[in-house]
Amino acid sequence: MDSLIVRTATKTILPLLLMFAIFLFLRGHNEPGGGFIGGLVAAAAIILLAVSGGVRHAETVTTRQTAQRMMAVGLLLAWLTAVGPILWGKPLLYGYWPPGWEILGIGKLGTPLLFDLGVFFVVIGMTLLVVLQLVDRVEKR
């Protein structure tokens, strides 16, 4: 598929979508939003790139290898924040909120944010992997 309109529009929309994804991710740990939706939006942005310019074009941004690596890193991050509390005798997934750590517009910071970051990466990686796999097959025919 090749369409001038989509390609031109993508250039503008892509950075906006990515920023929106990060916004959703940061907002999510105190209010509706979160790593999962953020990850989906980010993945959608990259998929848009693939739709507008073909798989080869999308692979300038991310390859399957990178997507897999994203998943692995995300899983590791989430794992560490989940298991970490056991060392301090707390149950799994226990969230620690350091007192006084607060950022304007986001709210309090705590270890759940790190877990969410892991989820963010896993979702991006997973979605891209599936889509690249399917698109790749279609293009090869």
């Binding site: 794992w79 149950p91 799994l92």
Partner: protein, 515 residues
């Protein structure tokens, strides 16, 4: 302190999978990491089993959110035994696969990663204390098993895999729907809480519908009559290592879920539900063994035997006495060991002679007598001959059947026993005893030692558990006693729960339909 380690059998396979990913193409490193991960998981499972072997029930709330709102993990002797067996099977299969047997021309990485995720799902299913997480862990397990089933992508694998995936997906959808109905009628999915609330509920019709929905969705996963047909169609298609793993783990998780749900939650009308389960058990064991008798292919015979033996396990649940449940637990245990071993034997046969068709095999007793011994021990265990492990589990089941005066099911299970022995003897006669047919090729390369070692290990366990049957029986009896006393489970989970008055200030929305 021990309760904080409860989550580790789930978390260790996860991190092992991630570490394997970072190693990518370094095959030797992947094998080492995977083996170490499985070993750690087994050690941990044994430690946890040791903690609850005296009949304790331990519960932990994730992130400290109290039950019934939080995510609960519960360990009782039954789940301890299942955890130990699952991780043990995993470790043995890993040792077996060290020397080969994986699909050719494929990165071994995907096998090991999928295997670790499978183990994670299985362990999680044994530990979880609420129904929704049981669903989630089922799905983790199923998605990895889908991957393993089609690893290598031969035509047969794709065909078998498609059937397996579709049937299991339908079962998951049924499970999810019944979860919706459970939540709608009781407002909780925590098993302990649900067990309290359903006992107080006065609508037997809804409970009966729920019980049947759970029976069907777990029955598909366990391979009960008449929902088993996907199993023999798909289990013989992937490489034998993977079939051995599936035979040891997957259907048993379905059986575990049945035991858990029908001893903890659906106790309102045991005459009907458990009577029905008993009928299904008889049909399952009989049809399964008949199916096996008609086959001429080692792995297909063994696949049908899985179904037949699921019948015995469910029979213990249907009889519903402490002795019967202890027998069922022992049966699960011996079946996991023996079945894995038998599939691994078929793997060695396929590795050496490139076929598992009984017509093309023969004379293996002369060419590899050790393999014959390693086949004979689990085969006789499966048939239930004394003094092997399998005998004691069958004995407990039969005695429980006689005590509850269910003579018909005892009769059926005895007939099935004889037929099981018959089909084991069929494999023995055809593959090992009769002179080798002319078409048979000689083994290409020697059998890797790790394969024989893992098999010998399983065989020794089958014998040892038979010799120390008394101690093993004690443990199973303890587990059955705890399972049959739901109050222990309820207090362990709910002793530190949210104040019910606080919950009341949040109105029971589910009771109020419409605009």
């Amino acid at each position: 302190m021990i309760e904080h380690f409860l989550a580790l059998p789930v978390m260790i396979p996860l991190v092992t999978a991630v570490l394997i990913f970072f190693l990518r193409s370094r095959t030797q490193g992947i094998k080492v990491v995977s083996l170490v991960g499985s070993g750690v998981a087994l050690l941990l499972a044994l430690v946890l089993l040791g903690q609850v072997a005296n009949g304790e029930v331990v519960a932990v709330q994730m992130a400290g959110w109290k039950a019934p709102a939080g995510i609960t993990l519960v360990l009782d002797p039954l789940s301890g035994i299942m955890l130990a067996l699952a991780t043990l099977t995993g470790l043995v299969v890993q040792i077996y696969a060290w020397g080969g047997g994986l699909p050719r021309g494929r990165e071994p990485m995907s096998f090991y990663i999928l295997y670790q995720f499978l183990l994670m799902g299985v362990c999680g299913a044994f530990l979880t204390g609420d129904l929704f997480n049981l669903f989630v862990f089922f799905e983790v397990m199923l998605i990895s098993s889908f991957g393993l089933m089609t690893l290598g992508s031969t035509r047969a694998q794709l065909e078998g895999g498609l059937k397996y995936v579709v049937i299991n997906m339908v079962s998951s959808i049924l499970f999810l729907s019944s979860l919706g109905i459970v939540y709608g009628t009781t407002g909780t999915l925590n098993m302990a809480d649900l067990s309290v609330k359903l006992a107080a509920q006065s609508s037997p019709a809804v409970t009966a519908v729920l019980a049947m929905l759970f029976l069907v969705s777990f029955g598909i996963k366990a391979g009960l009559f008449p929902l088993f047909f996907w199993l023999p169609d798909s289990y013989h298609t992937p490489p034998p290592v993977i079939t051995a793993l599936f035979a040891g783990l997957l259907t048993k998780v379905g059986v575990y879920a049945l035991i858990r749900v029908f001893t903890l939650i659906f106790l309102q009308d045991t005459d009907f539900t458990h009577g029905l389960i008993l009928v299904i058990a008889g049909l399952t064991m009989f049809i399964g063994v008949l199916g096996a008798a008609a086959q001429n292919n080692i792995r297909r015979i063994l696949s049908f035997h899985i179904i037949s033996q699921i019948g015995y396990m469910v029979m213990g649940l249907g009889l519903f006495t402490p002795l019967a449940l202890a027998g069922a637990i022992l049966f699960v245990a011996h079946n996991i060991l023996a079945k894995t071993a038998l599939f691994l034997v078929s793997g060695i046969i396929e590795h050496n002679w490139h076929t598992d068709d009984l017509k093309k095999l023969g004379g293996l007793l002369r060419t590899s007598p050790w393999l014959a011994v390693l086949f004979m021990v689990p085969a006789l265990t499966l048939a239930g001959l004394p003094p092997l492990f399998g005998f004691f589990s069958k004995y407990a089941l039969l005695r429980a059947g006689l005590e509850t005066e269910q003579y018909f099911i005892v009769f059926v299970s005895l007939v099935v026993s004889v037929l099981t022995l018959f089909s084991m003897m069929k494999i023995w006669n055809e593959a090992f005893w009769k002179p080798s047919p002319d078409v048979m090729e000689s083994p290409g390369q020697p059998t890797p030692r790790t394969m024989l070692f893992s098999l010998a290990f399983l065989g020794v366990l089958c014998i040892l558990f038979g010799v120390f049957a008394e101690n093993v029986y004690e443990l199973a009896h303890q587990a059955a006693a705890v399972v049959l006393n739901p109050e222990l489970y309820q207090t362990a989970v709910l002793s530190d729960s949210i104040d019910p008055d606080l919950l009341k200030s949040y109105p029971q929305i589910s009771a109020d339909f419409g605009d």
